[in-house]
């Protein structure tokens, strides 16, 4: 119990504390103001709670009933828990992020926000961070799984921590994709559906058997083959797998960071183009 606390919750709290300190003392005031406003509206709207609760229920049900975490008798979480989480995130992250910009378009408040004396990236990053906090909180709230594992056996908590980090970074990638899509449309439903499809494609692109299957079917008529190639080269899955197994690769971290940065930059471009 104590060991779990030290090895899982302490790092989580440290990350949270660093985030809060950065936000309060380093981030520009405009970014902080926007981030806090967005967090407040998550706090007062049902969507964040619904997402968190559904995530916790599903992840636990799958882990203990279908994943057979208890029968496996091994004290590790990758096989029964982490490998499924991106699948939920494909739906949950778009549900958390769909309102980020589409709501601004729908209410017309984007006209207010963009005529404030702030740089656009303050708004884009501030909103993204607020949604990230929801995903982070969701993952932290699944700590009972870790406690259970520690109670039942003697897992490597460092690997578990790496698993959570992989899930968090994957969630943030999906969130960044959603940010782009929600900047395109004023309808939250459209943003949700399109983002889910894109996140799914981004995930499946890393599924080698699927790519190979498509390759064997490839005739001269398969025009979307380049798209498949592209998706498999930028898929989150291989990076997730490396990280979730406890291999902290520099390349994987760089991949996640640059993927998120690229999506946020694209969000800025979309907002700019929508105005003109």
């Amino acid at each position: 119990m104590f060991e779990t606390f030290v090895s899982f919750l302490i790092p989580a709290l440290v990350v949270a504390a660093i985030f809060v300190v950065l936000l309060l003392f380093v981030a520009p005031r405009e970014l902080r103001t926007i981030c806090f406003r967005e967090l407040r509206s998550y706090f007062f709207s049902p969507i964040a709670y619904v997402c968190v609760v559904i995530f916790l229920i599903i992840s636990n049900v799958i882990t203990f009933w279908f994943g057979g975490a208890l029968e496996r008798g091994e004290a590790e979480l990758y096989g029964s828990y982490f490998q499924y989480i991106p699948w939920y995130l494909i739906v949950i992250a778009p549900a958390v992020g769909m309102r980020l910009w589409s709501e601004e378009h729908r209410l017309g408040t984007i006209e207010l926000l963009l005529t404030m004396p702030i740089a656009p990236w303050h708004a884009i990053l501030g909103k993204f961070l607020a949604a990230s906090v929801v995903i982070f909180a969701m993952l932290v709230l699944s700590f009972p799984v870790v406690i259970t594992m520690n109670y039942l056996g003697d897992p490597d908590n460092g690997v578990i921590l790496a698993g959570f980090t992989a899930c968090l970074l994957t969630g943030l990638c999906f969130l960044a994709v959603t940010s782009v899509i929600s900047a395109v449309t004023r309808s939250q439903v459209v943003a949700l559906l399109v983002s889910i499809v894109l996140c799914l494609a981004l995930w499946l692109g890393g599924l080698n058997p699927l790519v190979e299957l498509l390759d064997t079917m490839r005739g001269p008529g398969l025009v979307f083959w380049p798209a498949v190639k592209l998706l498999s080269s930028i898929s989150v899955m291989p990076h997730f797998n490396e990280l979730a197994k406890g291999v902290l690769g520099f390349r994987d971290i760089v991949f996640f960071a640059s993927f998120i940065a690229f999506c946020l930059f694209t969000t800025a471009m979309v907002i700019r183009l929508k105005r003109a």
């Binding site: 209410l107 017309g108 408040t109 006209e111 207010l112 005529t115 404030m116 004396p117």
Partner: protein, 316 residues
């Protein structure tokens, strides 16, 4: 303070704003008039930096709105059309949020919010959630947001839309008062508002300026400006009309209402004879023993001018 030079906006092939130029100095209140779809909101969106102009430039206090975006935006307050608001926030939180984003120093945020709440009469709904507010209160909340940092330049798109007559009056007074030390542009469809608070008015139609001047000079261009409206009885209407037409200098008698007991009409006269026209009508009444119910010289009405110049454009 506000300088707009040859600004144009095209949406696809459609020209919404066509080569518009104007400037507004400190102490001036510019009324922006025009029929629906004339391009008023589009112009304001370009001046506030929300829409990039297709060509031309706009600058606020010397800072170009495209090149020097943040400096320009921090000098101005903007009330967009339809007063958009974050509906899940309370009035208080929303105003604090706006004050912070608009760069009010931390220690002065509370004071700025209180002042804006007082100016826009929002005390009653201070802690209410915005989605439960009535339309007028929403509009006032958005107005409060635009003046919260006491900007040098104010751009208000239909600031009195949806307000009750008392509030309309208050807002006009507010604009007039603030106009003494700020540069203000506001658009409206209510022409009395222009007379009540503007130092200058521009009428635009299909993206082009079609009239520009002080409210008085614009009124003087209305067709009825300088005519005399009179209502007389004691003779059949047609007889009175005949007498009126015989007065020296009268060019036209435009009947408003005519019966066998009398008439009311606008009397047009040559410019040189206008000064003594009402005297002549009074003399006519005395001489023919008519009863004079009403007699006054028209200043002209902005409504009339507006209708004349924008209708002519539709026909052509």
């Amino acid at each position: 303070m506000i300088d707009v030079v040859n600004i144009c906006k095209k949406f696809g092939n459609k020209v919404a704003v066509d080569n518009l130029s104007f400037s507004v100095a400190k102490g001036e209140v510019l009324g922006f008039l025009g029929p629906n779809g004339a391009g008023k909101s589009t112009t304001m969106r370009m001046v506030t930096g929300y829409l990039p102009p297709t060509s031309g430039t706009a600058s606020i206090g010397g800072a170009d709105i495209v090149e020097n975006e943040i400096a320009a935006k921090s000098k101005m307050g903007y009330l967009p059309e339809n007063a958009p608001l974050y509906t899940e926030m309370t009035v208080r939180d929303f105003l604090r949020f706006s004050a912070e984003l608009r760069g009010v120093p931390k220690s002065q945020v509370a004071g700025a919010v209180d002042k804006a709440v007082e100016t826009c009469f929002l005390e009653r709904v201070y802690n209410q959630s915005i989605d439960t507010l009535s339309k007028g209160y929403r509009h006032r909340t958005c107005l409060a947001q635009s003046i919260i940092h006491d900007p040098e330049v104010l751009i208000l798109d239909e600031p009195t839309d949806g307000l009750d007559p008392n509030q309309k009056h208050e807002v006009r007074q507010l604009i007039k008062r603030m106009g003494k030390e700020k540069a203000i542009i506001f658009s409206t469809h209510i022409l009395e508002e222009v007379e009540a608070s503007c130092t200058r008015a521009i009428i635009i139609d299909r993206g082009r300026v079609i009239a520009d001047g002080t409210p008085d000079s614009l009124k003087a261009r209305a067709r009825h400006a300088g005519t005399v409206l009179c209502r007389l009885s004691g003779l059949a209407g047609s007889g009175i009309r005949h007498e009126l037409e015989k007065i020296a200098g009268v060019e036209q008698v435009e009947v408003v209402e005519e019966s066998d007991k009398g008439l009311s009409a606008h009397v047009f006269a040559a410019k040189a004879r206008r000064a003594d026209l009402s005297g002549a009508i009074f003399g006519l009444a005395k001489e023919k023993n008519l009863v004079l119910h009403e007699l006054h010289t028209e200043d002209g009405r902005l409504d009339d001018l507006f209708r004349e110049i924008t209708k002519r454009d539709v026909e052509s």
